[in-house]
């Protein structure tokens, strides 16, 4: 059994790493829960954003906090375009899954042709900054990531709970025809939500560029875990997605510290299977 300090450090790193799961899960959860569209290309969009951040940072020396201003609106536009296709062809849940998978493959190929399959690393002097709190180290970038994820999740939650737009969206998710009969313009809202989902992938991508090492095949690395997070956090619930992300991140990290790193995937998927079979109220 590892020491208390090691466990504590594992817990902190796990929760912070889980912030990334939560941030990625956020956009996926919104489109799946509220639009009944499963967007596998979410991960590819996040990596495209990450590579763009890297490219702008290393070639043109644009700082990530500036490049995000270009990337996030571009991703928003891509989200709109994707949604236009879904609407135009009346794509169902299953169709959206297959189409976005194919789109993700195409993006992966594009990334690999332009940036090659080599590992890329966006070196910054602040990447390794950390705060010392007692015996523990808290990496600054991951902390900012979690704060951003928290603000986005909280803001989205408030937006969905408190405003007319949010209520209309939730009504449309329940029954689009009935909602439309009460004057909800489902189509405009759906476009807005698709755009926002893709924009969140852009935000996630910027952090991926700063924190992780980039390779085209990495697009698929988080797919399983993030899907688990989306389900555990309950479809369409932004705060749930973030909480579930941190929960899974923490449990993986503890499992790595106590057993071995290779056992980590079992944790998230066992939790997912248990929750699917048990079906608690909050899932």
């Amino acid at each position: 059994m590892p020491s208390a300090t090691l466990l504590g450090q594992a817990l902190i790193s796990g929760v912070l790493a889980g912030g990334m799961y939560g941030l990625l899960a956020l956009g996926l959860s919104l489109s799946w829960g509220l639009l009944r569209l499963v967007n596998l290309s979410h991960f590819a969009l996040a990596f495209l954003a990450a590579y763009l951040t890297y490219e702008l940072g290393t070639t043109y020396h644009v700082a990530p906090w500036w490049s995000v201003l270009i990337i996030v609106p571009s991703m928003f536009a891509i989200g709109l375009a994707q949604h236009w296709v879904f609407v135009r062809f009346k794509v169902n849940e299953l169709g959206s899954l297959l189409i976005t998978f194919s789109f993700a493959v195409i993006l992966e190929v594009g990334i690999q042709l332009y940036w090659t399959a080599d590992y890329r690393r966006f070196e910054t002097h602040y990447a390794t900054w950390s705060i010392k709190a007692g015996p523990f180290y808290i990496p600054v970038l991951e902390l900012i990531l979690c704060l951003v994820a928290g603000v986005l999740a909280w803001g989205t939650w408030l937006w969905l709970r408190k405003t007319y737009v949010g209520k209309a969206l939730r009504a449309s998710a329940e029954d689009a025809d009935i909602a439309a009969a009460y004057g909800v313009d489902h189509r405009k809202l759906a476009y807005l939500l698709s755009g926002i989902g893709a924009a969140y992938a852009g935000v996630a991508g910027t952090f991926i560029a700063l924190i992780a090492t980039l390779a085209p095949a990495q697009i698929w690395a988080w797919l399983g875990v993030v899907f688990a997070v989306v389900i555990i956090g309950r479809l369409g619930n932004p705060l749930g997605a973030l909480a579930a992300g941190m929960l899974i991140g923490a449990s993986e990290s503890i499992a790595m510290a106590v057993f071995s790193p290779a056992w980590a995937p079992v944790v998230s998927f066992s939790v997912l299977i248990a929750i699917l079979l048990w079906d608690p109220e909050w899932s």
Partner: protein, 582 residues
């Protein structure tokens, strides 16, 4: 047998023979390897379609069964020195066992359909991969198969692998053809469209899904066993790769996953394309092109290539079905003889939904040959009673006897086998089946065992009887509400029920259609069926019923001859309030 049937069979036999002896022709090993990959993907995607295409249980976990097969063969051959060919059936058995194990848990939960089933199977894949990685089965270093002796079926090693892959492919396609043309396949197609209705029409849905899962997983396991020898070196990352289940899905969907031959077409096209790009040194571009083709195919041919071609050919051919003329016999409106025997006896029937008491101890007898009208205000428990008798809801308490045998705790399909058929208030036809198939399906699963020709005759008879003649080849979406209601009736009648439960067949019909329906119900009774019908339209209740039962707040409130019951002040008061009862 006509030439039109002999020719494809002869071509298929010739094709099998040519492909089987191909390795002896001395072609470069490149051909063996290419064709092996085609066979591999055809087998894998066809096996996926057996459960996920036919029955609609969309799985993203096909790599789990395939991988379990690979590692079963690898472990047995390298660690226990078992002969390679012996390990292939064992690999199939292990994978099938895993499939049945998952199914036995998951298929009991109605929630776990659709994307949740897909996700669950994906999660199982990751868990199995991690377990194999961290135990001595793999141990993280991978497993080398190079020392395992290959059986000498063909002059060359690649030839032997080719022949094994080919045999597996023919076997898989044979199984898929058989399933698609069997009772099992008909049941699976019905489950795909509406599982609850399939169960109510007599399909043992749980057992059928388990069989389909076992076949699907078992084939994938055997394919994996052979593939272990082909790759020669197994790693967990390579075996349980996410692209395997996704490619299987895409190939099946491209070709048409509800068609036995569709996945084979999709797999051949995609494998050939990928191979062409790989040998041209443009593997990455090949992947992108495949991705693009799939997007276009799913947008424009959502049902797949093979069904699209079939539909096109069908449009060119004239319909071969000779419709039966409408033969609703005129039944004189005279008192009908009702037996003294009870066909249905309900005692203390209760049904609770959480805190809500929908049925609070209903006692009701239905006599053989009678028409019993079931009325009551909204929420009084009429439809719930139908749902409980037909087995859609399990009983909370009490007993239901049919012909003296307790049925209250049987699954719905067994209740259907005992001669109880029902219709739905809002018609629930199987949307991907024609009118004829909808009715034939009910005759196959509900009625006594008959030959295919007899079932077809029976189905055509009831289609004519309900006035749907000429619409045999139409899909339910092409029918109007009136016709869909009558399709519900035809489907219930084709099962030759002893007791027919009709749930508001008249609601939403115009006066002329109501008259027509009333005539039909009389004609049905004249043929010997007993009928319980839920209805709000009082004119029909009074005209049709021998007796009327009034339900109120989950209890039997009144029972008797229609005119007396409807004049009972107590009955009037529950419908219209106390003020009108005087």
């Amino acid at each position: 047998m006509t030439a039109g049937q002999t020719l494809p069979k002869a071509a298929a036999a010739l094709g099998i023979l040519v492909f089987a002896i191909l390795p002896t022709a001395g072609l470069p090993a490149f051909y063996d390897s290419f064709f092996y990959l085609v066979f591999f993907w055809v087998s894998l995607s066809t096996s996926w379609a057996l459960l996920s295409g036919f029955a609609g249980y969309f799985s993203l976990g096909h790599a789990a069964f395939f991988g379990v097969g690979m590692y079963t063969t690898a472990t047995l051959t390298t660690k226990a020195n078992v002969t390679f060919l012996v390990t292939v059936p064992v690999a199939a058995a292990m994978a099938a066992l895993l499939g049945v194990g998952i199914g036995a848990v998951v298929f009991r939960m109605k929630r776990l359909r659709g994307e949740l089933f897909a996700l669950l199977t994906l999660a199982v894949t990751f868990v199995i991969a991690t377990i194999i990685l961290n135990t001595p089965i793999d141990g993280g270093a991978g497993v080398f198969m190079s020392a395992v002796p290959m059986p000498n079926l063909m002059p060359t090693q690649t030839g032997t692998i080719y022949v094994l892959g080919f045999a597996m492919c023919v076997l898989t396609l044979g199984i898929a053809w058989w399933v698609a043309h069997s009772r099992l396949g008909l049941g699976l197609f019905a489950i795909h469209d509406d599982e609850d209705v399939a169960e109510a029409k007599g399909v043992p849905t749980f057992r059928y899904k388990l069989i389909a899962f076992a076949l699907s997983a078992g084939i994938a396991g055997a394919v994996g066993g052979i593939h272990a020898m082909y790759v020669g070196f197994l790693t967990v990352a390579g075996t349980f790769e996410l692209t395997v289940p996704l490619y299987v899905v895409l190939m099946s969907v491209l070709g048409g996953s509800r068609n036995w031959f569709g996945p084979a077409v999709g797999a051949t096209v995609i494998t050939a394309l990928l191979y062409a790009f790989i040998s041209g040194g443009e593997a990455m571009v090949g992947r992108a092109v495949v991705g693009l083709i799939l997007i276009l195919a799913i947008l424009w041919l959502p049902d797949g290539v093979v069904p699209a071609i079939q539909a096109w050919m069908k449009r060119r051919r004239r319909s071969e079905t000779k419709p039966h003329a409408a033969v609703v016999p005129a039944v004189p409106d005279r008192p009908h003889k009702i037996g003294s025997r009870n066909i249905l006896e309900a005692r203390g029937v209760t049904k609770r939904f959480g805190g809500l008491q929908a049925l609070a101890g209903v006692d009701l007898d239905v006599r053989e040959g009678e028409i019993l009208g079931l009325v009551g205000p909204n929420g009084s428990g009429k439809t719930t009673l139908i749902n409980v008798i037909s087995g859609f809801y399990p009983l909370s308490g009490g007993t239901i006897m049919v012909d003296g045998a307790e049925i209250g705790r049987l699954p719905a399909h067994e209740i259907a086998h005992r001669g109880i058929a029902r219709t739905y208030q809002i018609p629930r036809p199987f949307v991907n089946m024609t009118v004829l198939d909808n009715v034939s399906m009910a005759a196959t699963f509900g009625g006594p065992p008959r030959t295919a020709a007899e079932i077809r005759e029976e189905a055509l008879h009831w289609i004519g009887f309900t006035g749907l003649a000429g619409k045999e080849e139409a899909l339910p979406a092409e029918l109007n509400l009136h016709e869909r209601k009558f399709l519900e009736l035809a489907r219930a009648l084709a099962a030759k029920p002893k007791l027919l439960l009709l749930d508001e067949v008249l609601s939403g019909l115009n006066p002329a259609e109501v008259d027509n329906a009333i005539r039909l119900v009389r004609a049905i009774r004249a043929q010997g069926a007993t009928i319980v019908f839920v209805e709000h339209l009082m004119r029909a209740v009074v005209e049709l019923s021998d007796r009327v039962a009034v339900l109120n707040e989950g209890k039997l409130f009144a029972l008797g001859a229609p005119r007396e019951v409807m004049r009972d002040p107590r009955v009037v008061s529950i419908y219209l309030g106390k003020a009108y009862a005087a």
